[in-house]
Subunit: 475 residues, 2 copies
């Protein structure tokens, strides 16, 4: 942890009356204020990312993570003020700084942002389940940083085998010479449906509804083929992980990073591809142009966009997002007791389902004693498992109705990568006006969803796969 | 469905007054009685297995499935009586019939039988979690039929490739010439913990406690090696299943059978072996001597004992146990509505845990405000997933305590085949005398257990992986 002087910060006035051991405290500046954030680091929703700003202004970071621009955050910060910068220094601090998001691509107006800078937005739920393949412009966007501008003519992907001096550079043309491989796969954010968990008890993270998920057809080259061409022996027990780095970077120059287990990267049935097409078009900028690694069955965070580098390694990625984010914890683990090193990084996601229409409190017509809900929801399970059943109840589980699995592709587990769209015709007792629809899915391992958020609550609000419960009114 | 006359049954007196269309009704005999079971078939706990006795005596079958020897069954049968055999015929029917179980092996007295003929028994729970490797004589036994007597000198395993005229015969010596492969793997019965589900609402099946499971070190030859040697190309998309037949057979000569998906059988990481050793000894007779196929991560029912034949096929096994048993259903599916063809055969099992000590209503000492329970339970997940956490609560989920994972092997998913043994030190509020311990496990896909049996109840009482809840008394 750095004190301000080690980063040569222009702090001129601080509250000397506080008994501060300078080189063990952590300061940041914001406009003219100087703040001691030492005791706040542990509570910071973004984890120790905050240390990137140690000894300097938080403003370049707040331009990256615009979630900070709200009164609550400023209030919290103000409580930590220990002094002020000179007028000259505070004016200086943002000179020549332009909005790093100014070159982000245009987006479809229908996407519902959870944050604008970086851009994170989901599909309106009723649109999500209208089609088995989610159109590119409606596909949810989860960006951690500004969208990089990449010239496909000069783009190069670096492939490194750790410990060797071997580095292979591949242009887009080089990549396209490998056999083309096409898969249809669902990608889901670990925080999908977080807005339900946070109602149980607040969690930190983007307030996603049930639509931080989409299903697309991806085409590209098998990672397996590229690795083998790079001299990797698939049976070499030395290799444990394959790391990915995007070319998107934060103000310190740190790129987005993640890794997946080596077996998944090299497995014949793993279907990991370096995708250059999404639904038949070049991958849009928001989704990783020109190359996104698609790791089917695995949490979105490992499907690294704007791929710049692949490293075959004995170790996991040391990135923040692999080590100190995207992990699950016990409901009783809080920010005082959490130890990120004790939980494994999320890879394959558990079984989940969601009701997309009707929405909460919508009025639904009863006909012949039933409500008929078409395109009701989706269900999916990670690890290539297939949905074998979706059960729906409107009486708190006294009776369960088996949903119709309307759209499901023919792939068998463990290579069933797509979601399943389902609908249901549900009997309603006459006279009942308020009902709550619950849904739960069962996958081909016969894993099913936990009943409540209460017992799976975790401080980061990930893995939100409890029964989906939607109250509606009937008429 | 056969009427009695088609099987040449010696029925002489039947109640002619009933308006019976003979060739569409199904009759059986028991001692001197003749019974019309047509309408009972659908309710028969053992499914259409009952049809094996159509037109003949049920007695040879009841000697096989001794669960029938109870007053309740006789009472049900009596209600179906339509006539009597002549004295001569009824004396004749069991002539020369000896007990098919008379040559079953001796068993350890500590095993707790769920049924004696066939022999099905589990380990006392407190003994189960004392050791990471379950000793052979304490390992739960799940037999569907009498234990066959096999001479290892003359034993031959048949390997057939469907549609070819190729059949390979392998002696035990032939098999042992393949490279020896050793794995440590947990095997669990699909009905493990059924006694808890049946309390919710009765289910059909053996009344297993939490100990129809064990963990052993198995050694043998890789099925993959045998298949490749038999001319199977692992990339041939034609093959979908590998079928197994035991040499144990019922009175009609039908052998026990099951199948697994081809990918699992041929996969490098599948670790399916034809085991001839269990914990360093030749496999005991109760566990499949001389060869049992071990399919790690997959339900016990597919780990076929006394293996006689392997068939590489486009189709699943057509055996009763693959098609009409060992499948999961919705809680609202009953014996009137069940359609076994609509559910997939259970293969990889979902995540589960169980508390083995203390037992229900045991008195546990509180020390320093805590109960300390060593060797408390096990947790396991199918499909090679690893247990990453076990949570325990004694206040209905208000606070969860993270259990210590005491014994866990180092294998990584998707090849983590062994269970995890865990213990916990749990704070108890002073003055509280009656508490209920709940346990739930989380696996490496972050799948977790469902909370209650109510919402996973199924008519066969399989997949009993709801939270384990054990009431205890403290002092």
């Amino acid at each position: 942890m750095l004190g301000p002087q080690e980063k040569n910060c222009p702090i001129t006035h601080y509250r000397k009356s506080q008994n501060i051991v300078q080189d063990k405290r952590i300061w940041v500046t914001y406009k003219e204020g100087v703040y001691d954030i030492t005791d706040f680091v542990i509570e910071h929703p973004g984890g120790d990312q905050i240390l990137l700003a140690a000894g300097s202004s938080v403003e370049p970071f707040w331009m990256l993570y615009a979630v900070h621009n709200n009164p609550h955050v400023l209030q919290q910060l103000e409580a930590l003020r220990i002094g002020n910068l000179s007028k000259q220094d505070s004016q200086h601090s943002l000179e020549n700084m332009s909005d790093p998001y100014s070159s982000d691509p245009p987006r479809h107006a229908v996407l519902k942002p959870a944050s604008v800078k970086p851009f994170n937005a989901e599909t309106p739920p009723f649109l999500l389940v209208e089609q088995f393949i989610t159109p590119n412009e409606l596909f949810y966007v989860r960006n951690h940083l500004p969208v990089p501008q990449i010239d496909p003519e000069t783009y190069e992907l670096e492939v490194e085998v750790e410990g060797s001096n071997k580095t292979v550079l591949l242009t887009l043309d080089d990549l396209k010479k490998f056999p083309k491989h096409t898969i249809t796969a669902t990608i889901m954010c670990a925080g999908n449906r977080r807005s339900e968990m946070t109602k149980e008890k607040p969690v930190k993270g983007l307030n996603w509804g049930p639509a931080a998920v989409g299903n697309a057809t991806w085409a590209g080259v098998r990672l397996r083929d590229v690795l083998k061409k790079s001299g990797i022996n698939e049976d070499d027990k030395k290799w444990k992980h394959v790391q990915f780095e995007g070319v998107d970077f934060d103000p310190t120059g740190k790129t987005y990073g993640a890794s997946i287990p080596f077996w998944k990267a090299i497995d014949k049935r793993g279907d990991v591809i370096l995708a250059y097409e999404m639904n038949g078009s070049p991958i849009p900028r928001d989704h990783g142009f020109p190359i996104r690694v698609i790791v089917p069955g695995v949490v979105g965070a490992r499907n690294v966009k704007w791929l710049g580098k692949i490293t075959v390694s004995e170790n996991e990625s040391d990135s923040h997002w692999q080590q100190n984010d995207y992990k699950g914890f016990s409901p009783s683990t809080n920010w005082d007791t959490v130890d990120f090193s004790k939980s494994p990084a999320i890879q394959e996601l558990p079984v989940i389902s969601a009701i997309c229409t009707p929405s909460a409190n919508e009025v639904v017509k009863v006909q012949d004693g039933h409500i008929l809900v078409k395109d009701l929801g989706y269900a999916w399970s990670g690890g290539g498992q297939k949905i074998v059943r979706v059960d729906v109840t409107v009486d708190g589980g006294n009776t369960w109705h088996i949903a119709d699995l309307d759209c499901q592709d023919a792939a068998e587990p463990p290579q069933h990568w797509s979601w399943t769209l389902w609908s249901a015709r549900i009997p309603i007792r006459s006279g009942i006006r308020n009902v709550e629809i619950w849904a739960k899915a069962v996958d081909s391992c016969y894993n099913t969803q936990p009943e409540t958020f209460r017992n799976i609550w975790n401080l980061r609000g990930v893995l939100n796969n409890a029964y989906h419960r939607v109250p509606i009114k009937t008429q």
